[in-house]
């Protein structure tokens, strides 16, 4: 509880409020699903088994993308803040910012037309999409570390590696994690587009609902995707509050 008390009011409101909101809406949806009068198509699309299956697919897409993004963007951010590659960081950041203007749905459709439909193309396009916030925040976080601290660590005889792992990274962790959380939430939402290229996920409910004019299916899909994104946001904030190095506040 000590950590929670130390968090700022916005974080505290969200950490306590989000699970309540998610729980209430989810229970409400389950009750609705149990008592609602559904026609054949609706009932078939909304069986617990198929909803769970779609949720699972959605989570797998998000998880795979997250692992790839964090595994590539953080090391790249580290590389771009030291040594000879440092000069590359402004042009890459500029390019990354311009790239953010690209609509994610356009990227998914383009790649699918070029490479074919399916799971891995969905993962590839979503990875590209989520890469930028993590890279940008890694670079910002590392650059934000006070140079005099690095000097002091060097003066104490630390090697470059030790400075990186014992000073720079711990100091930059809050900013990097904010980037990861942003990316994860984007992924949870954009994962809904995977359904457009036959990669499954909860987007399928929204899409089928629109195509077949079944608002109950459409709204169920929308609610579940939104709940998933909110749950991801909550986990992200929790991790942020609890992994903040004790000395920082």
């Amino acid at each position: 509880m000590g950590r929670l008390a130390a968090a700022d009011r916005e974080d505290r409101l969200l950490l306590i409020g989000l699970p309540i909101l998610i729980g209430v809406v989810l229970i409400g949806w389950i009750i609705w699903r149990a008592v609602a009068d559904l026609d054949d198509i609706e009932a078939r699309l909304l069986t617990p088994a198929s909803v769970l299956e779609l949720t699972w697919q959605h989570l797998v897409i998000v998880a795979v993308c997250t692992v790839i993004v964090v595994g590539t963007a953080v090391p790249m951010g580290i590389l771009l803040t030291r040594g000879p590659t440092r000069k590359l960081s402004p042009p890459i950041m500029g390019l990354a910012n311009a790239g953010q203007a690209a609509p994610v749905i356009g990227v998914i459709v383009l790649l699918a037309l070029l490479l074919g439909f399916g799971f891995w193309v969905a993962v590839l396009s979503l990875t590209i999409y989520a890469f930028l916030p993590v890279l940008a925040n890694t670079i910002t976080g590392l650059k934000g570390v006070d140079r005099s601290l690095v000097e002091a660590a060097r003066g104490m005889g630390m090697s470059d590696m030790q400075v990186l792992f014992r000073i720079e990274l711990p100091m930059a962790v809050p900013v990097i994690l904010t980037g990861v959380r942003t990316a994860l939430v984007l992924l949870a939402g954009a994962g809904a587009f995977a359904a457009f290229i036959d990669a499954g996920g909860l987007g399928e409910l929204i899409q089928t609902g629109i195509v077949m004019f079944r608002y109950s299916v459409l709204v169920s899909g929308a609610i579940l995707v939104a709940l998933l994104a909110l749950a991801v946001e909550w986990v992200g904030r929790l991790v942020e509050v609890y992994t903040k190095p004790k000395g920082l506040s």
């Binding site: 409101l13 690209a102 609509p103 629109i210 909110l230």
Partner: protein
């Protein structure tokens, strides 16, 4: 590709204009709403963590899900597009407006009051001009985001360049599928960059001379 663009030049231009105009109109609406709420929130200070929390939750809601939730109420077409784009555009503007208005030095407001200005005059002549650069940054973030939301809104028959992307998707294998998707996507990037340049210019022109960097 060149032939494709050549044949549809007028349509592409018109759609780009539609896309930009949808985003700009929603941005104007969003600025009024965002700054309005920010004024409320900064007047009653206890509200500001709640406003920040709500805007964080709002940004979490996926745009495709929001469109899905709107459809039963609005039907398909332009209305859900405008509501969805405006909804997302409000959030960064609200956040930045709160920060901007809160960071106006209390001493400055004090001296404005000392010169006999009332709350209204202080807001229009002192607080808003000083907070404006921060608000403009929020508007630029909103503009970028809105471009993408507007593209997704095409799935519910919204206007603009988005339908090109979905035409490309639904005619997969056809001769022009890739052309449609490329023109739709690149078109949106071009419109987004143009709008951003316009906003930078607009920010320069509307920022009070005294605080221009």
């Amino acid at each position: 590709m060149i032939r494709f663009i050549d044949e549809r030049w007028a349509d592409i231009l018109f759609r780009s204009y539609q896309h930009g105009s949808l985003v700009i109109q929603s941005l104007i609406l969003a600025t009024l709403i965002g700054v309005g709420i920010a004024v409320l929130v900064t007047t009653y200070r206890g509200l500001s963590p709640a406003a920040n929390a709500i805007s964080a939750v709002g940004l979490t809601i996926p745009s495709f899900a929001l469109l899905g939730l709107l459809l039963p109420f609005t039907g398909i077409g332009v209305v859900p597009s405008v509501i969805a784009v405006t909804f997302y555009a409000v959030l960064p503007i609200l956040r930045n407006a709160v920060v901007g208005l809160q960071s106006v030095d209390g001493g400055i407001i004090e001296s404005a009051r000392g010169q006999g200005m009332n709350a209204m005059t202080i807001f229009w002549r002192v607080r808003l001009p000083l907070a404006w650069p921060v608000i403009m940054t929020g508007i630029r973030v909103s503009a970028q985001m809105s471009m993408g939301v507007a593209a997704i809104a095409a799935y519910v028959l919204g206007p603009g360049l988005g339908p090109y992307i979905f035409t490309g998707l639904s005619t997969v294998g056809g001769a022009n599928a890739l052309n449609y998707a490329v023109v739709g996507t690149v078109g949106i990037i071009v419109v987004a960059l143009l709008l951003d340049a316009l906003l930078v210019l607009f920010a320069r022109l509307t920022t009070s001379k005294g605080i221009r960097a």
